[in-house]
Amino acid sequence: METDRLIASEPGPELESDTMFINMGPQHPSTHGVLRLGLTLSGEVIKRAAPDVGYLHRGTEKLMETRSWSQCVVLTDRWDYCSAMTSNLAFSLAVEKLLGAEAPPRAQALRVIMCELNRIASHLIFLGTYGIDIGALTPFLYAFREREMILDLYERCCGARLTYNYIRPGGVAADVDEGWIAKCREFLEYLKPRLDEYDALLSFNPIFLARTRDIGLISAETAVHWGLSGPNLRGSGVAYDVRKAEPYCGYENYDFEVPVGRTGSCWDRYFCRVQEMRQSARIVAAALASLPPGELRTKAVPRVVKPAAGEAYAHVEASRGDLGILAVSDGGAAPFRVHVKAPCFINLAILQEILVGKKVADVVAVMGSIDIVLGEVDR
């Protein structure tokens, strides 16, 4: 059976008599989707953790080889479905690099606004579900109430709540008007006091601190060694953010700081995301203030996209890490090969190392702080 294969094939220490193999199986309230974690426990302490993924593997990289370039944008939404805008952006940047095209300035500003709003929405989901993992059931409701306002803004502008298909190769799909900008500013004003409220409710709650401070410590070397990215890497003290290292879409002319943790504990990663929400609000406010007029789609990207044979790699700072798309074209109407460098897939692998020696309750705290979305892990 599946578990015997895992036990037999893993070259773990020979099984002491008192260990117990427990399945934090595909259906578990706190695995954020369909991840199976094979834990070998002795008492409450974990001897070995073997994450088993693939329960949501839909083979989108294979499907993209039979769809035209613009049809693939739809499939990109379903990877990290908590922040679909950044997946659209990464794919569109890769195609634009292949074609050597550049989105018009208004489209670039709109892309920045939408991606940062999506980062706030995605971190609000994290805030809610992480609260539930640690046992506080109420922040989930408050975080989703705020997220509803962002979804209203998205629905007003691009029609969808979760899978937008808004950022396309060559520009963006729809424009925003005065009403939308006024509502967006109103939301940003509304969000600031809410974030301070969450800090009081959850971030500095003594029990929450007891459960997350110096739990699941990841040193800077281990984080780089395991190839983590995004808030997980910055939580360990490595200040690497793609928006600062390789700016795209005009990020260089917005000023924002990159929050960096100190010890790499669950709380550092959690608080990096909370601070990132504040920084994203600053970026959106700045982008709204300097929204240039102009058309939304560049003429360089034709309706039927047939880029010359070649390869292009574009990567963006998605909410969960450094999302990279390698787009390979053989000159045909369909992509020859698209590879997704999925940050969640790589961030998840570190569970094998940092869960050893922890307690069962810490598994939930550590896995929640890594913040994985199974759509992007399995693609």
Partner: protein, 186 residues
């Protein structure tokens, strides 16, 4: 309790007032089941986020008495929210069979209905009704939370049509197609 309920129709038929007793019993039993549909905390893909939003403050599922339960033993609704892959098909069938009768299945989103955007993928089951019987299908990718609530309302209508005489009891039933309520669509 389940056994008695299944024998109730046979006992009630010969008694003169038995039919009236049976229908009123049906009414109250279905009313109880209708207002307390407890789904399983079980999300697969993007539809799971819309399901979570349906539980959250704005589209409050709790208004209908719908509370997510972590264990399949206490759940009577399996809400398939997301893409059913072949690797996940086995566990889904196992969870379905762990749930006590009377159990219902809602297939949420076009991935669960018919494979959706992955209609030609090598690793996706083209629709969850290939592996378990489904009571309500909700179109959309992902469906809006209002559509999910409308789906649960449809399920509630279906529950109110359940009759003790037609398998409305709670004894374990062999593998069956989608709940055969055709006879009760009066």
């Amino acid at each position: 309790m389940g056994i008695i309920l299944d024998k109730a129709p046979m006992i009630a038929r010969p008694i003169p007032g038995g039919q009236v007793l049976l229908t009123t019993a049906d009414y109250f039993i279905d009313l109880g089941r209708k207002y307390s549909v407890w789904p399983l905390t079980f999300g697969l893909a993007c539809c799971a986020i819309e399901m979570m939003v349906a539980y959250a403050g704005r589209f409050d599922f709790d208004r209908l008495g719908v509370i997510p339960r972590p264990s399949p033993r206490q759940a009577d609704l399996l809400l398939i929210a997301g893409t059913v892959t072949k690797k996940m098909a086995g566990p889904i069938q196992e969870i379905y069979h762990q749930m006590p009768e009377p159990r219902f299945v809602i297939s949420m989103g076009s991935c669960a209905n018919c494979g959706g955007p992955y209609f030609d993928s090598y690793s996706v089951v083209k629709g969850v009704d290939r592996i378990i019987p489904v009571d309500v299908y909700i179109p959309g990718c992902p469906p809006r939370p209002e559509a999910l609530i409308y789906g649960v309302l449809e399920l509630q209508k279906k529950i109110t049509r359940m009759k003790l005489a037609k398998g409305g009891g709670a004894t374990h039933q062999q593998e069956k197609g989608s709940r055969d309520l055709a006879g009760s669509n009066a």
